[in-house]
């Protein structure tokens, strides 16, 4: 379970400092300096780092809250880097040569274990408009990455998605409860209720898959469990975003409504650090290699 004080601090801080204006400005390429400053001042950028007295549950719990607020800073990357490197300004992480907010970072670490403060940046964005800059390192040093560093990055996406899923469920319920058609709130229509029930199921499943992966963070099965979680939560993201939009009608399709801040992130994050099929294939090969009569043992064994 996550430390309640960290959770409360983060929830309050992100509620206070992340709004439409900040999100839109970040999409326009403007790094939210004020937000990053309060995060650093509170020490949230060091959650999960050695000597911080915090655990995996705190780190990924914090990312879940970040996802719930569409936090427009590279917190997942900074936490991953700070979890084993001495803090030295903002360190972002490049996966396949692409790093969030490379343009403002002091250092870039790659998932292959190269790190450098000297790099070229070509600015880019994912489909949510989040900074995803192409990085070319110069004068890189090798560092010893923690075990399964890429899987940890994948888990950060799982946690972010779990948070965003939670948010779109809340938004869809609020909207359906307020929006009236045919003389009553659309939440009173069975068709809408059933869609929201499906949405809730996917959100709950995603949350459980995420929690399970976090619980396994120190176990030998971590890679398998993260892969399963990334695949399952990626599926949930697609189904849930579709329903949330359907419930919100044309209003949710506008730029003005903030639903897209979350649904576009879900669409982007399910592709980052391995799509569903990438992880499914990997997992499927592992299951098959043990043989048919060990399928059950495999599923149970990874916990």
């Amino acid at each position: 379970m996550m430390n309640g004080l960290i959770a409360d601090t983060a929830e309050r801080m992100f509620s206070d400092h992340v709004d439409r204006g900040v999100l839109d400005a970040a999409e326009g390429g403007e790094f939210p300096v004020a937000l990053w400053d309060v995060i650093r001042a509170a020490g949230l950028h060091l959650v999960g780092s050695p000597g911080s007295g915090t655990a995996d549950a705190d780190l990924y719990g914090l990312l879940t809250i970040a996802g719930r607020h569409a936090l427009p800073v590279p917190l997942a990357e900074v936490l991953a880097a700070n979890s084993f490197l001495e803090e030295n300004g903002m360190t972002t992480v490049a996966v396949d040569g692409v790093a969030p907010w490379g343009r403002v970072a002091d250092r870039v670490l790659t998932v292959d274990g190269d790190v450098s403060a000297d790099f070229d940046v070509s600015e880019g964005a994912n489909l949510a408009g989040e900074s995803r800059d192409r990085i070319t390192l110069r004068n890189a040093c090798r560092v010893d990455l923690p075990a399964q560093f890429y899987e940890r990055m994948a888990l950060s996406r799982v946690a972010l998605m779990a948070g965003a899923l939670d948010r779109i469920l809340a938004m869809a319920i609020d909207y359906a409860t307020e929006r009236e058609q045919f003389g009553r709130p659309i939440a009173k229509f069975q068709a809408v209720q059933h869609n929201l029930a499906i949405l809730a199921g996917e959100v709950a499943a995603a949350r459980c898959a995420c929690d399970g992966a976090v619980m396994s963070a120190r176990s030998p099965n971590f890679a398998v469990v993260v892969g399963a979680a990334k695949a399952r939560v990626g599926e949930a993201a697609g189904i849930a975003a579709e329903i949330a939009h359907q419930v919100h009608g044309a209003m949710g399709f506008t730029h003005e409504h903030s639903l897209h801040h979350f649904t576009r992130r879900l669409w982007a994050w399910r592709d980052e650090c391995g799509r569903e099929t990438d992880w499914q294939e990997r997992l499927g090969r592992q299951v098959a290699s043990r043989g048919a009569d060990s399928v059950w043992e495999f599923v149970v064994g990874v916990g």
């Binding site: 929201l196 199921g201 709950a204 992880w279 499914q280 299951v287 048919a292």
Partner: protein, 379 residues
Amino acid sequence: MTMFAGLLFEPTRLPGEAEVLRAEVRDFVVRELPPDYWPNSDFNEGHSPDFSRKLGERGWIGMTWPKRFGGGERTFFERYVVTEELLAAGAPVSAHWIADRQSGPLLLNYGTEDQCQRYLPRIARGECFFSIGMSEPNSGSDLASVRTRAERVSDGWVVNGTKIWTTDAHRNHYIITLVRTEPPSENRHAGLSQLLIDLRGKGVTVRPIRNLAGGEDFNEVVFEDCFVDDDDVVGEPGNGWTQVTSELGYERSGPERFLSAFRVFVEFVRAVGNEPAPAEAALIGRLASHLMTLRRMSISVAGMLQKGGSPVVESALVKSLGNDFEKLLGELVRLQAPPGHAGLEKCLRQTLLHSPSFTLRGGTREILRGVIARGLGLR
């Protein structure tokens, strides 16, 4: 942290003692099932009083009940492990399933000391099997509309009416029957009661109903002036609705709600071999990722039951997701099944023919979604 009470699946791990049990169950199943036994992970398939009795001897029925009623005073986690191992192995568990899962717990919660003494030890020994008397020809999902009625006589009740879709009524011993003990009033949930009735007693006629797969598992049960002693009223007369809904947490959250098609998965892996093509591997991985997640959810609900909770919404969520998965599994495997694998073909046929029941039995998909929607505050 999530805002909805019904979505709070606390991360839960099976404790060590539950895992110890796992190996014992696996050994037992290998030893006790004949070599030519064809496994079926659907909990409704395979009715074997003999196998149930052996499970009873091992202490694997009524595991969570008090010892003085023949139970094992073990945890819901231990019970969870036993049930999921039996289902995954495709063991024949239908005979004792309902008695163990819900009739026993119902008697424990609402029954008299005398009822518990009379029935629970026999259930736990695997000698006494129960059916559920809820649905009627004109009352399916709308359970509160049941018309089977019990009229007061001097030392008991006289029951008239018909129950339907009663699994294994033709080979089980008792049926806990939801009846109207008062005429319908404005409060539709008032005036309902549960009676424990001997399926072989006077005034009870059981007629098997053939299903589309050719099997005869479910039945029509007709009560004609069937006398029920006061001693066999379960709980307070009039409290039937509360009691019936309290059974649902037990009924809906278990591994039987996502493992019905599991043997198809196993046979698919066998058919594609150790080095599957990319699409085959992806399907195996997809199914495994769902299964792993559903297990977590179901284990989390076992934890809620262990703490004495009544996780009605969470159970509806597990069943709803689980049933959809059971149906999806067969459909996805069908499209990628390599030809020429008799075992896989047999499993697929069996699963497809039974699949309509997955999202009907124990609460239809539509009812479950309504329960979830209520949990979300929409109704």
